[in-house]
Symmetry: C2
Subunit: 350 residues, 2 copies
């Protein structure tokens, strides 16, 4: 499959909009106005263009927000040749992508990610998704509703990263570390020399995004290898979801970074991962993320893990590593073993 990733996004967007009967830009309202103006200027030259804004964040990943997009598309008379452009972070590309994939059974889609996390992860690979609405006594389950739907283009514009807060860069860095662990070799060594600052990460963005793209292209529907991208995510999602339930803020990429530290711990015990390498990697990751992580006990984490989308026939599935670049993506946890390891991890890092 050819790459959808490009840095010459202006030309490609101009082409895509000339082929569209109408265009809806779904933008994050927190972005500087100059970003959407830049995009609208390119689109408007070619086709009637509308814009709808949402304040990006996990809260917009609901069917109610998707319905708002549907209504907007209807009111502007969108047809099957219309184009949806998502301008924002991962919550905008996830929610907007789902709307585009299901409106008239799918209209064209372009992602213009504006965060590190969206550039290297959320906007790559064609997964769209929203969360289930909060049910009584039930909590929020992430990305339970979604589709596989490929955008025509994912445009990378480094300039849009200038306005990011430090914590958002740190969050994207978590996924970049994950890609580096999956790839191993010189890419990992090069990344380990950098710190999660924009100047350092910028040249690595497209390389990191391409690691994910290559894995996805080999296994689009997640029958096998694509599951390796869940490295750090079984535990990461669990602690993120617990933090959310308790009203604490935890950035996705930071939760994933902690998930990676735990996955390395578990990989030493279960997969024969070299303990010295693991410790070196763990220290490197931990040195860059905020210390004093507030995490719950094994029971609470296990309860979230047992609701994970990746589980099959009640088994809690996780991704572990044999060595950097060598992945076991269908490891099955026994509850007791997890509990012992988790408490050890917790004692060490909190």
């Amino acid at each position: 499959m050819e790459s959808h990733l490009t840095t010459s996004w202006e030309n490609k967007l101009s082409l895509a909009s000339s082929e569209a009967s109408s265009i809806l830009v779904i933008a994050d309202s927190n972005l500087p106005k100059s970003y959407s103006k830049e995009v609208l200027d390119i689109c408007n030259k070619e086709s009637p263009t509308h814009i709808i804004s949402f304040e990006g964040g996990e809260g917009i990943k609901t069917l109610s927000h998707v319905s708002e997009v549907y209504v907007h598309l209807e009111k502007m008379g969108a047809d099957r040749k219309s184009l949806v452009v998502c301008l924002g972070g991962g919550t905008i590309t996830d929610m907007g992508g789902f709307a585009a994939s299901t409106y008239k059974r799918g209209v064209s889609l372009v992602h213009l990610p504006t965060t590190v996390l969206a550039m290297v992860d959320a906007a790559i690979g064609g997964k769209t998704g929203v969360n289930t609405e909060m049910q009584e006594n039930f909590g929020l389950l992430k990305n339970q509703i979604g589709t596989f739907y490929n955008p025509k283009m994912v445009g990378i514009n480094h300039n849009w990263l200038q306005s990011l807060k430090e914590e958002e860069i740190l969050s994207g860095w978590g996924e970049m570390v994950k890609h580096a662990l999956l790839k191993g070799g010189t890419h990992l060594k090069e990344l380990m020399k950098l710190s999660p600052k924009l100047e350092d990460l910028s040249p690595m963005l497209i390389r990191s995004a391409r690691i994910k793209e290559a894995i996805v292209n080999r296994d689009e529907k997640e029958i096998g290898e694509r599951a390796s991208l869940n490295l750090g995510h079984t535990v990461g999602h669990a602690i993120e979801s617990l933090a959310h339930d308790q009203g604490r803020e935890m950035k996705h990429g930071v939760a994933v970074a902690w998930g990676l530290v735990f996955a390395l711990e578990a990989s030493v015990m279960k997969m024969g991962f070299d303990p010295t390498t693991a410790e070196e990697l763990q220290n490197w990751i931990v040195s860059e993320i905020l210390k004093g992580i507030e995490v719950d006990g094994a029971d609470a984490v296990w309860s979230k893990m047992s609701q994970d989308k990746k589980n099959v026939k009640g088994n809690v599935i996780d991704v572990l590593m044999i060595a950097p670049g060598e992945v076991k993506w269908d490891f099955v946890w026994e509850r007791e073993e997890f509990t012992i390891l988790w408490e050890k991890f917790r004692g060490r890092y909190t």
Copy 2:
């Protein structure tokens, strides 16, 4: 692509349920209890099975009903290897199919249609869909939200047709006539000898369904030929939607039958369709559907047609015929021409 259509549905369902981690049967609450019992008995042998019932009808094709299915799937702990079985008419297979295609980005799906319309049309071809909710001053737009998603199996059980009302059989007959016009040749001649009674139609069901399946397999994503299945539907949907807005009941297949009569009228004028053959076909169709059709004027119909999903860049697209079996699926209407023809058609048949 291999055929998903089968009459040996018990064996195939048993196999599919043995491969599933859990099963949700979405059933029409109006069906005799023996139908769902038959299905549950087969499933229960293999995997934990749950059932959720809805009163079938256009009213269940909403995102709220889809959400109910999501919640049910969550509460029963459904994972990616779960199976959704839709037992009912087209509104159950459309809505349930959409839920299955978007829950965890798609779980397995089996359709067990219980109406003629669903057997020959709705359950065939992998289109799922729900309607947009009613917006103020906006009306209901049909099947605007949906996916392309293939069921593992469409099981045909003639016994389930026994409980159908006459009008429901008539409605399915409309789509069977459409398939016969698209196919032409001996199939059309054979169907023209029959009347829309269950005894007559039963042996033709699977043949009619296979005409649709063959067209879909040649053009799954509706880039070209699949659009020919919209024969009679541009006008059909418009008069169905107008009837709905005015609180009148009009069965989908009956609206389509009227759409076919109009399409033949237009095909004579615009495509050089043989007028004698057209009249013969029109008389045959009209003789079987209720006379005294109450239809609106050209302006009202055009207004609905101009909102049709098939339209591209504001053009109203329709399907016309050159001869039986020979289709033009991208005819573009001029409003003036349509108005003249519509009033002629209306004068003749109402």
